[in-house]
Symmetry: C2
Subunit: 273 residues, 2 copies
C-alpha cells in the first residue's frame, strides 16, 4: 500500500485507527475458547467488528510466538483474513546483521504478506536496509517508544546535543523516504510530538500508548497530523478486552467507535487540499 | 545453567565455542534435502559432529521464522536434541514494552526451554527486566555488535563522553548481575575488548563475528578471557557450510575442531585457580 493509498483510506473511513492484535489466550472469552482455533476465531470477530472503523491492523508477534507453531498458524490465518483495504503491521521489533535481517524481512514480507514491520534501530544501517529492499513494503522504525524505559537510552543527549531518538530519525531519513519509512512515537510523550513533526514533517508516525498506557489522542492528533494524514494511532487492549464476556466483539466495536468518532471530528478540521 | 556450570563445561571441553545454527534451506546439501524435516536433519548432523567441541548452540531465530510454522517445529526439535550439557541461546534480539517482553520471555523460556535469549536494549529497562524474572535463565544484551551498522548509534558519544554501548552496559549492570546477564560484543572490534572487559570484568561475553565476518579469535581471547572463562565465541557459517556436499558434517567438525584447538591452546595458559 502506498502512502497516497493509505491517506485515501484514512479520508474514506474518517479514521487513523490501528487495532493492535495482542491476542492473549488467557484473556479470551469463554465463548471463543470452544472454537477449534480460538486465537483466530477471536481475531476474526474483532476484525469483523472493527474493519469499517480502522485503517490498519497490527498483530503483536510476541503473543503468537508464545503459543509455538500453532500461534504462527493462527497469525497467518489472521493476516489472510484482514481485508486488502487495510494496512498490516507485523509488530516484531526485529533487527540483526544484514544477512539475518534479510531473513526476517523474508519471514514478514514473503513467507507472510505483511505491508510493514516494526524494526529496532540499535544495530544501525545494515540491520534496517534489507527490509527497505522489498518493493512496496514499509519499515516502521522505533524512535521514541511509549514505555518508561524510553528514558534510559532514547532520551539520552548525544555529544551533538540531540537526544538519541532524534539521531535515529535523522539518520534513518537518509536511508529511506516517507514512502517506505514510518516512525514509532509513543503517545505518552505528547510534549515531544511538535518537535518530532518538525524533524520528520512528511513521515507517517505509528503511535502506540493511548488507552491502557495513558496517552492522549487529542494532543497526539493536534501535533502529529500532516498533509497526508501522517498518523496511525494504535489501540490494543482497550479494544480487544473492552469486555471479557460473550459480547466482546460488540464492546470492541464500541471502543473503536469511540476513538474513530474523535478522529472523524478532528479530521473535519483539515479538509484535503 | 549457572555461570559456574558453564565455566566447568568450558574447562572440561577445553572450548568456549558456540555453534550458531543459522540453517538456511537453500544451503542444505542435497543428501539432506531428501529427509522429512531437512532443517532438523541438518542440525542433528551438525550437533552430532560438534558437541564434544563446543559448549553452546545458538539457533538464529530469523532463519526458522522465514520458514513459517514448519520452521518453528524444526527449531523445537533441534532444541530438544541439544544435550543438557550445552548452553542454548535463542538469538532473537527481542525487546518491547513490559507486557510484550514478558510474552517473548515466555516464548523462549517456557514454550521452548532455552537457557538464554539475546535482547536489544533500545527500549530500556522495562523491555529487558521481564526476561530477568525467569529463575536460572539468562539475558544476553546487545552491546557492541559485529556489523558495520554498529558505528551508527552504538559508537556515538553521549553527553557524558561515553559511547552508547558503554552506557548500555553500565545501565544493564545495575539491573542484573553476572549470573543472569551477558553482553554481545562483536569480534570485529578487537581494539575495544580491553576496555569492555574493564567495564564488565565478570560478565560473560557472547562474541559473534569470527569467520565469515573477519574477527580475530586470538585477540578476542587475549582481552576477553576472565577467571570464569567469560567468553562464548560463536561461529555459524564457517562451521555449517564448511562443505556443501554429503561430507558437510565431517567438514563442520573439522572447522569446529580447528577453532577448539586454538581455544584449548589458549586455555592452557590460564589454569583454573
Amino acid at each position: 500500500m502506498t502512502r497516497a493509498e493509505l491517506y485515501q483510506q484514512i479520508l474514506e473511513k474518517k479514521s487513523y485507527l490501528c487495532v493492535g492484535l495482542d491476542t492473549a489466550p488467557e484473556r479470551l472469552p469463554e465463548s471463543v475458547k470452544q472454537e477449534k482455533d480460538p486465537i483466530f476465531a477471536f481475531n476474526k470477530a474483532i476484525i469483523d467488528a472493527t474493519q469499517d472503523l480502522c485503517v490498519a491492523y497490527k498483530p503483536n508477534l510476541a503473543f503468537y510466538e508464545a503459543m509455538g507453531p500453532q500461534g504462527w498458524i493462527s497469525l497467518q490465518k489472521t493476516l489472510e483474513y484482514i481485508p486488502d483495504t487495510h494496512f498490516t503491521i507485523a509488530d516484531a521489533k526485529r533487527g540483526d546483521i544484514g544477512n539475518t535481517s534479510r531473513r526476517y524481512a523474508s519471514a514478514f514480507f514473503e513467507q507472510m504478506n505483511f505491508d510493514s514491520v516494526t524494526v529496532a534501530p540499535y544495530m544501525g544501517v545494515d540491520s534496517v536496509r534489507p527490509f527497505l529492499e522489498f518493493e512496496g513494503k514499509w519499515v516502521i522504525l522505533l524512535a521514541l517508544t511509549s514505555n518508561q524505559g524510553s528514558q534510559d537510552f532514547q532520551m539520552t543527549t548525544q555529544e551533538n546535543g540531540q537526544p538519541l531518538y532524534e539521531k535515529v530519525m535523522r539518520k534513518a531519513m537518509s536511508w529511506a523516504n516517507p514512502e517506505q519509512l514510518m516512525f514509532v512515537v509513543g503517545a505518552t510523550h505528547p510534549e515531544k510530538f511538535k518537535e518530532i513533526r518538525a524533524i520528520a514533517p512528511d513521515h507517517f508516525l505509528l503511535v502506540p500508548g493511548i488507552g491502557a498506557q495513558g496517552g492522549d489522542l487529542a494532543k497526539v492528533s493536534e501535533y502529529g497530523w500532516n498533509d497526508h494524514g501522517g498518523l496511525l494511532v494504535n489501540s490494543s487492549r482497550g479494544i480487544l478486552y473492552a469486555s471479557s464476556g460473550a459480547d466482546f466483539a460488540r464492546a470492541a466495536r464500541a471502543s473503536a467507535q469511540n476513538l474513530q468518532t474523535q478522529m472523524a471530528d478532528f479530521i473535519k478540521r483539515f479538509p484535503p487540499a
